[in-house]
């Protein structure tokens, strides 16, 4: 039975490859049918695997000591469920959106492949498997970034690629050492390296951990290697930007959690310069991302900068090494995923319907696309952290955890920065709502008349907005689970 775990990983990859190799479809609808079916089948098996299977499965050995091994733990389940939901919904959104782009077949082919790779990343039961899928993810998601093939897109794609690989190789440095000294490669709460070994090679391992945090942090847009993100995310087609910004960046978060909490162990880095450096970097990123977003006139780029900032909220929560903060961070993963995908999808819908890309063009858009703008407003509130949305719940936990952690300086500096950043977030998101609904005197909103998108596009938006509110209202079921996991990962009994 455990072999069913392989289905959601390899089925979409194969389906994607088949689609890529096929001749052009005569009818667009038959391709969509194919893609839709593949997405749904994957989703079903993924959900089945997430809830139904506890055993692990070894696929094969790369070398004698390197098995490719899949197993789901709480973290894996959490992430894979999140990824599945978002990926499928965004996929349906793109059925409509991709009408105005070329080479749809290629887009959907890679879309399916990346889905499989992401699930593989979530399902991986040991470090090397995760690394394998991590690299594959970079490579397979590249065509999504490059899709439009404009000069800008190609340059952004290259930047994406090189930053990602730089990060991956930095991380690989640590992977090498963990594989050598770890008692096992499987993810284990509290780490796999004996404390004696860690103490003996203290400097080496601290450097290695720092490398891994920065390396995997590249995907999560952490300063100093964040520059690729604002370039790469906006150039992709709308739904691709959404999943890139909402989902793929989270893979970096997942990898960081895996490494820090389940490979090295938190005890080793608590109170060291690594933790200090990590916290400083995340706080710098939070503030810087928000500032840059505030100054950015192009909507998608503004959202991308916002991603930089928000991802470092999560990383900050992780760097505190506190159960409460970690719960907040994990909750923010979901919150941000739904919100950012929704925001990007809104932007995509606007571009699709009106072609407007810059913020100042959007005056009065609420007259023509009220539903879209309402969804935008709701999730924006969520991102700022206003109750009763999911963002509030997650940020609350983050701040409380940080305050309670007792880390000198950062325990109060962190929440302050988060608060300032939240204000900036309001500053860069809400003007669009205000000017959209209240364009002011003498403004002609007639060009937006009747531009509301179709239901295929609206439905995902509405679902994401609803989920945002829903989680904000009833976070407890989720937070309890997450807290339990966090406590276990931090080995607080």
């Amino acid at each position: 039975m455990e072999y069913i775990l392989l289905v959601p990983v390899f089925f979409p990859i194969l389906a994607g490859i088949v689609l890529l190799l096929k001749k052009e479809y005569q009818k667009r609808s038959s391709m969509l049918l194919y893609v839709g079916t593949a997405l749904v089948i994957t989703g079903v098996f993924a959900v089945y695997g997430i809830f139904g299977i506890t055993e692990g499965v070894t696929l094969f050995h790369l070398t004698k000591t390197l098995p490719v091994y899949f197993e789901l733990d709480t973290l894996g389940r959490y992430f894979s469920l999140l990824f599945t939901i978002v990926w499928i919904l965004a996929g349906f959104f793109s059925f409509e959106y991709m009408k105005h782009e070329e080479r749809e077949k290629r887009y959907f082919g890679y879309y399916l492949i990346v889905f499989g790779v992401l699930l593989g990343l979530d399902f991986s039961g040991n470090l090397i498997t995760m690394y394998l899928f991590y690299e594959l993810m970079t490579l397979t998601s590249l065509p999504l970034v490059l899709h439009t093939q404009t000069r800008e897109a190609v340059m952004a794609g290259l930047r994406y690629l090189f930053f990602s690989f730089a990060g991956a190789y930095m991380a690989l440095f640590g992977v090498y050492f963990i594989c050598r000294y770890g008692t096992t490669l499987n993810f284990t709460a509290g780490g796999v390296i004996p404390a004696a070994v860690l103490q003996e090679n203290r400097t080496l391992f601290l450097v290695a951990v720092m490398f891994m945090i920065i390396g995997f942090g590249v995907k999560a847009g952490m300063f100093p290697l964040h520059a690729w993100l604002p370039a790469a995310h906006p150039v992709a087609p709308g739904p691709a930007s959404a999943v890139l910004s909402g989902i793929i960046v989270k893979a970096g978060v997942l990898a960081v959690i895996r490494v820090v909490y389940q490979m090295i162990g938190t005890d080793f880095i608590r109170g060291t310069w690594v933790q200090t450096a990590w916290m400083s970097l995340t706080l710098i990123t939070v503030f810087m991302g928000s500032m840059l977003a505030f100054r950015e006139p192009v909507l998608k780029k503004r959202l991308a900068y916002s991603t930089v900032s928000q991802l470092s909220y999560i990383l900050f929560g992780l760097s505190v090494l506190d159960a409460e903060a970690m719960t907040g961070a994990l909750l923010h993963v979901t919150a941000h995923a739904f919100i950012k995908v929704a925001l990007f999808l809104c932007a995509a819908a606007i571009i699709y319907q009106t072609g407007c890309k810059r913020v100042e063009d959007l005056k009065g858009i609420g007259k023509g696309m009220p539903v879209t703008l309402w969804c935008y407003t709701i999730v924006s509130l969520g991102l700022i952290g206003i109750p009763p949305t999911s963002g509030f719940a997650s940020k609350w936990s983050l701040a409380v955890g940080a305050l309670a952690s007792g880390v000198p300086v950062f325990s109060w500096l962190g929440p302050v920065v988060l608060l300032v950043s939240a204000l900036l977030t309001a500053g860069y998101l809400l003007p669009i709502t205000m000017q959209g609904f209240f364009p002011g005197e003498g403004y002609d909103a007639s060009r937006f008349e009747g531009k509301e998108p179709s239901y295929l596009m609206l439905a995902p938006l509405l679902i994401f907005a609803a989920l945002t509110v829903l989680i904000g209202l009833m976070p407890n079921g989720l937070t309890d689970r997450l807290f339990e996991f966090a406590a276990q990962a931090l080995q607080i009994v």
């Binding site: 094969f60 050995h61 790369l62 070398t63 004698k64 390197l66 090397i128 690394y131 394998l132 690299e135 594959l136 490579l139 590249l142 065509p143 490059l146 439009t148 093939q149 404009t150 000069r151 190609v154 794609g157 290259l158 690629l161 090189f162 690989f165 730089a166 190789y169 930095m170 690989l172 440095f173 090498y176 050492f177 594989c179 050598r180 080496l204």
Partner: protein, 491 residues
Amino acid sequence: MNAFYLFLAVLIPCVGGVLNPLIPWKKRSHMLIYLETLVVVNSILVWVLLLNRPEEIFTLVHFTGNLAIAFQLDGLGTVFAGLISFLWPLATLYSFEYMTKEKHEKTFFMFYTVTYGVTLGISLADNFLTMYCFYELLTLVTLPLVMHTLTREAILASRKYLYYSIGGAAFAFIGMIFLLTYGESPDFILGGVMSTATLAEGKNTFLLIYVFSFFGFGVKAAICPLNSWLPQAGVAPTPVTALLHAVAVVKSGAFAIMRLTFYCFGVDFLRGTWAQYLLMGVVMFTIVYGCSMAVKETHLKRRLAYSTISNLSYILFGVVLMTPLGLVGALSHMIFHAFMKICSFFCAGAIMHQTERHYIHQLDGFARKMPKVFAIFTVSALALMGVPGLCGFISKWNLVSAAIESQNPMAYFGIGALLLSALLTAIYMLTIVIRAYFPEKDFNYDTIADVKDPNWMMLLPLTVFAVMIVVFGLCSMPVTELLTAVAAGSF
């Protein structure tokens, strides 16, 4: 089997190659069949020998005293001989198609085939003198291949190649003299041929001599200050660049260094000395330097040549770790890099053969017109970067494991160099791939309407190599086990 067959394996291609221009061929195809048969038969002979290894030594001729030309087959030789005898028939097949556009085919194939025998001679050599002789011969027989096009550029390149190689051999010669004088046996012995007492007596002298000979052989392996011949030698026809300057010749240099380090001086003596640190520094620098130059280079073949420089130093990095595990890493990269690099070179050759385009900026949109070649090129590019699941990852893994295991702090920096180099590899390989697959939006495909995939003679070797890259990447265990046995001396 009788050890005489070892000599036969060296002799067949040499004699068969020399005969080629003498036979009055009526049709080109007859010559091709002759050559391919010759090479395949010899490869089969080599593989039969590998599987039924002769235990004794075959001595061909005595020079003076204990100096003899002799052949034997040990673990290290098995690896190298197996590698080249696998690649040669495929490369020959490829060159049949490639050479249709070049002149002086007969001479070309003569030297090309003779080189096979000479390279086998290096791998099957029983003692330093034999290896040295074939090493020098290798320079001479490959020289006409580099000169082949006879343009001014080719002649300058071949001159440089010659000076560098002979100069290197001259320094390696110093090492040979020492080994002949102080060694207790002229044959190669895993662990070294000199007694500890002798070594302890003139420690620094021996180390100095080791460094000299390392650099001497390092010329062929293109280590840093001595590498400029390799990119220039890229003017040769692609089968030469691919097989010789990515595999046979340059790996002979690496092979000789392995012999020198593990089978002559002995790693127990060298480990932890200034010589080790010095060489490790040089090798690490070369790794990064080669990649950086490759990023700068815009000529396709030269870029790959710079990549070879860097990758050869991966092998040498494994060697200078001076542990059995390091040798495993070095050997595995020797094998895997051979497949990856010959594959990418052959792709480059296919592009040049089909389209006469040499520069990377001319390759926009080629992937649509040459889908097979570019799919294979992508595989080789990813493998060179070390993406898990392809063979490059495995060899790098072996190298790094050895580096960690050696507990040598400097080796940790070597890991950093490897990773930096991997990143640079990603840059210089994937820019080509992306350019070919994703040209700019309004790219006009009519400008490359004449571009198409080559015929089966080129595609077959390419496909085989690509498949091998994947197969080795997924199940490398038999290879690694074999190499471990070789490094432990138990094979």
